[in-house]
Symmetry: C2
Subunit: 202 residues, 2 copies
């Protein structure tokens, strides 16, 4: 026992812990990369589904066109999806770069930037989905008390495609929420409660 | 110089750091307590403002009443505010208890529970505010393309009070976002990158 006690000098601890940290870090980075790729793909899908959606209806020889621009919430959702896709693309490149270089995130300003960006995108996409979903509910069910009539009976194909776009965007925002948890972990573990850890982290 | 070098033995470091941690911890806890009290108060205010709102209008001798239950998004916002108020009250009691006992949060399951609760409430209140705000925009501006008429010209007092309730709820959700950042910090710093820190944290 005493041999072990002498053998394990303070100098060995960071080496052991470094390996342990690498395993956790690799898992976190792979999850992060997969999620960011999923977000990028689904955000583009959502934006395209809603942005290209339109339906023409002829009522008493008058042509009426339903477009996503008729509803501000859908325009907002397309913009939010576009931003999420662009942001995720940049982050995917960063993830790949840091994986190639094999570097572990110990840079506080960068960790703060990623954390802030992820938080912002998570809340932005969620707000956009909530507003679009509320509009979709009005369009689907109407609001008889306020004499707002349902329009999905008339524009069925249009409404279905919007629904698919909102579903895709919902997965984007849920993935962003998980990612913002991961980046919070990556940031705040740098503030671990020991002076040695703080020294390494800077 | 050499005296200083000898004087600062590894044994002194945790003591110094313990004091440093206490200062940070006290500030975090005071901020947390203030925010939770603000949330509790404003969530109750928002729920009461919207929940008690109604306006009677006589049109061609027919009495029409506008109530918050006419709009599902407002009912959802009242429920979300009620949940936020109840949750914050419990958390305020926990904060006061931990301040009286002078204990520092080193309990991982508790930190995980607080983190999860705060995240959930932040996203819930934000979604409720977004949906209610979208409904309010339709009520205020109408949507001429869909022949949804604006109703705030008719029920001005009702709409103003709903607006105040939504503003109050917006502050609640923004405060919840800040709080969820604080609880993420409190949780993930327990996963600091050193074996000593991990030992303390368990």
């Amino acid at each position: 026992m005493s041999y072990l006690g002498i053998g394990v000098s303070p100098g060995n601890v960071p080496v052991y812990h470094g390996n342990n940290l690498k395993v956790i870090d690799r898992r976190v980075r792979v999850t992060e990369l997969v999620l960011r790729c999923v977000i990028c793909g689904l955000a583009i899908l959502g934006a395209v589904l809603i942005g290209t959606d339109s339906q023409v209806k002829v009522i008493f020889s008058i042509e009426k066109i339903a477009k996503f621009t008729d509803m501000k919430a859908l325009v907002f959702l397309v913009i939010a999806n576009g931003l999420a896709a662009a942001y995720s693309l940049v982050q995917v490149l960063r993830c790949i770069l840091s994986m190639i270089r094999g570097s572990v995130l110990f840079n506080k300003p960068l960790a703060w930037a990623i954390f802030s960006g992820d938080q912002l995108m998570a809340y932005l996409t969620l707000v956009a989905v909530a507003a679009a979903a509320q509009s979709a509910v009005f369009a689907k069910l109407g609001q008889t008390e306020l004499q707002w009539m349902k329009i999905c009976d008339m524009y069925g194909k249009f409404c279905n495609q919007v629904g698919e776009g909102i579903a895709s965007s919902l997965i984007v925002s849920l993935s962003m929420i998980v990612l913002s948890g991961i980046s919070a972990f990556s940031l705040f573990r740098l503030y671990g409660n020991n002076s040695k850890g703080k020294g390494n982290a800077r």
